[in-house]
């Protein structure tokens, strides 16, 4: 059993998501490249990407393409687990070739998920650039993988697990910390 408490409440999460959207818009407007796609990584990167797409549309008048990616087939720990969760639906409804892809995830921790996501997305085509947007960067990477856009930097001890929740699938926006 573990204790769960709020680390960042809905106001803090909203400010962080808004900041992420601003950073993404700033880079692409500066490059005069308004064509980019957000690809949410399961599980919580998917609703986060949807929120970002909505905000970008409100602020800029255009909605970026939206994709969802499950990296189960690209993990580096296949064959080591005793139970496998269901693979979720990957939908990439746009061409990856020559595109600008922003991978979106809720929490950047070891970097292994992002490593797998890079291998996965490049099997769909050859993008012009790939950027990474995360809500929380834990700064405890095991791989040299760094986010381009970060909502909040949080560095709790390794024993503390973080979990994000987003409306509407969850009751409220929040980041929780959990300790055994």
């Amino acid at each position: 059993m573990y204790d769960r408490e709020v680390m960042f409440d809905s106001e803090a999460v909203n400010v962080a998501i808004s900041h992420l959207a601003d950073e993404i818009i700033a880079e692409f407007q500066a490059k005069r490249k308004c064509d980019f796609a957000l690809v949410g990584l399961y599980r919580k990167g998917v609703p986060l990407a949807e929120r970002l797409a909505q905000i970008i549309e409100e602020r800029c008048g255009y909605k970026p393409c939206l994709g969802k990616l499950d990296i189960s087939m690209y993990r580096d720990d296949i064959g080591t687990r005793s139970a496998l969760p269901r693979i979720r639906e990957t939908i990439i409804p746009f061409s990856v070739d020559k595109n600008n892809i922003v991978l979106v995830d809720d929490i950047l921790s070891t970097g292994r998920t992002i490593r797998a996501a890079l291998d996965a997305i490049t099997d769909y085509g050859r993008p012009d650039r790939i950027r990474l947007a995360v809500l929380i960067d834990r700064k405890d990477g095991e791989f040299p993988i760094h986010a381009d856009y970060v909502g909040i930097v949080a560095n709790p001890p390794e024993s503390v697990k973080l979990a994000a929740e987003f409306t509407p699938e969850d009751p409220t926006d929040a980041i929780y910390k959990m300790q055994w």
Partner: protein, 310 residues
């Protein structure tokens, strides 16, 4: 709590829960997409070695498994009984143990003796996928059949499925029956009474010896091949008599539901159990079954190889 996959072997659909069957189908739906994109490969089984150990002959199932393994980036070894030391009298278990000593990871096995794969699974730390054991079980064939039906109808529950042909000697029929019943289909088995005994009612299916009765309300008709290699006695007078009374022809389609699916596990005996016009017609999904078979096998291999064997 959401179901997670924990099995290291796939031996038969009989022991799977309905939720586990749906789990495999949902996984297969994702793997189908891999074969539809430019890079038809994922690194999931990179570094793993799979042995296709076929004691009974096969082209279609073996090629399908082999391609599934390659698309998962596995290394593949094919062992055919006819060219193996089984011919020199080596036991099945010794053969498997010798292969296991080469640090292989998974066996995909077809054998003429029912239960052979279950026996091997109990004696090896490698995973075992059953590609057919005698007339007992052929789980991946049933899974691809069910996947094809679900893709067309969006569900299995409540559908009327007729399996037509030599049910007695058919592992495809048995596996389909287990899988379809678990997912809520109404199943009819039909054919000559010599190969469709009444006793099958005890497993929850309707038994029918009249073709028209068997197919007129069916949403799906799955036609089985007359398996001469398994018929060691005379079960019906001749192929042409079988074709007359139980062959699926365009005339039979006329009194079936317009959108009914026609399926066949292959290979087909044209104009025996199914006429060419029906096999090649617009209600036939025989070739889609082949495509879906690849996706289902990729899913099964991924799941069983993905789990640690306890």
């Amino acid at each position: 709590m959401e179901l997670k996959w924990t099995r290291k072997d796939l031996l038969s659909l009989k022991e799977l829960s309905p939720e586990e069957i749906v789990f495999i189908l949902d996984t297969a739906a994702e793997f189908k997409k891999v074969s539809e994109r430019n890079v038809k490969k994922v690194p999931a089984l990179r570094g793993k070695t799979v042995v296709n150990f076929f004691v009974e002959p096969s082209t279609r199932t073996r090629v399908s498994f082999e391609l599934a393994e390659m698309r998962l980036s596995a290394d593949v070894i094919n062992v055919q009984a006819s060219t193996s030391s089984l011919k020199k009298g080596e036991t099945l278990l010794d053969t498997i143990k010798n292969l296991e000593a080469l640090q292989v990871d998974l066996f995909v096995m077809r054998h003429s003796a029912p239960g052979a794969q279950e026996f091997i699974a109990q004696h090896t730390k490698c995973g075992v996928v059953n590609a057919g054991d005698g007339a007992h079980s052929h789980p991946t064939q049933a899974l691809l059949d069910i996947f094809t039906i679900r893709e067309k109808f969006g569900r299995i529950n409540g559908l009327k499925v007729t399996i037509l042909g030599d049910i007695l000697h058919s592992r495809v029929a048995r596996s389909n029956v287990w899988g379809l019943l678990k997912l809520g289909a109404e199943v009819t088995v039909a054919g000559p009474s010599t190969v469709v005994p009444k006793e099958f009612e005890s497993i929850g299916v309707r038994v029918c010896h009249n073709l028209r009765d068997a197919v007129k309300d069916a949403d799906v008709v799955n036609v089985l091949r007359i398996q001469h290699e398994r018929l060691n006695a005379s079960f019906f007078p001749s192929d042409s008599e079988y074709a007359t009374f139980f062959g699926l022809t365009p005339a039979v389609l006329n009194y079936m539901r317009p959108g009914a699916l026609i399926m066949h596990p292959g290979p087909i005996n044209r104009d025996v159990e199914i006429s060419s016009a029906v096999a090649d017609g617009k209600q036939s999904v025989i070739l889609e079954q082949v495509t879906n078979g690849l996706a289902v096998r990729m899913a099964v291999l991924f799941l069983v190889a993905g789990c640690v064997k306890k």
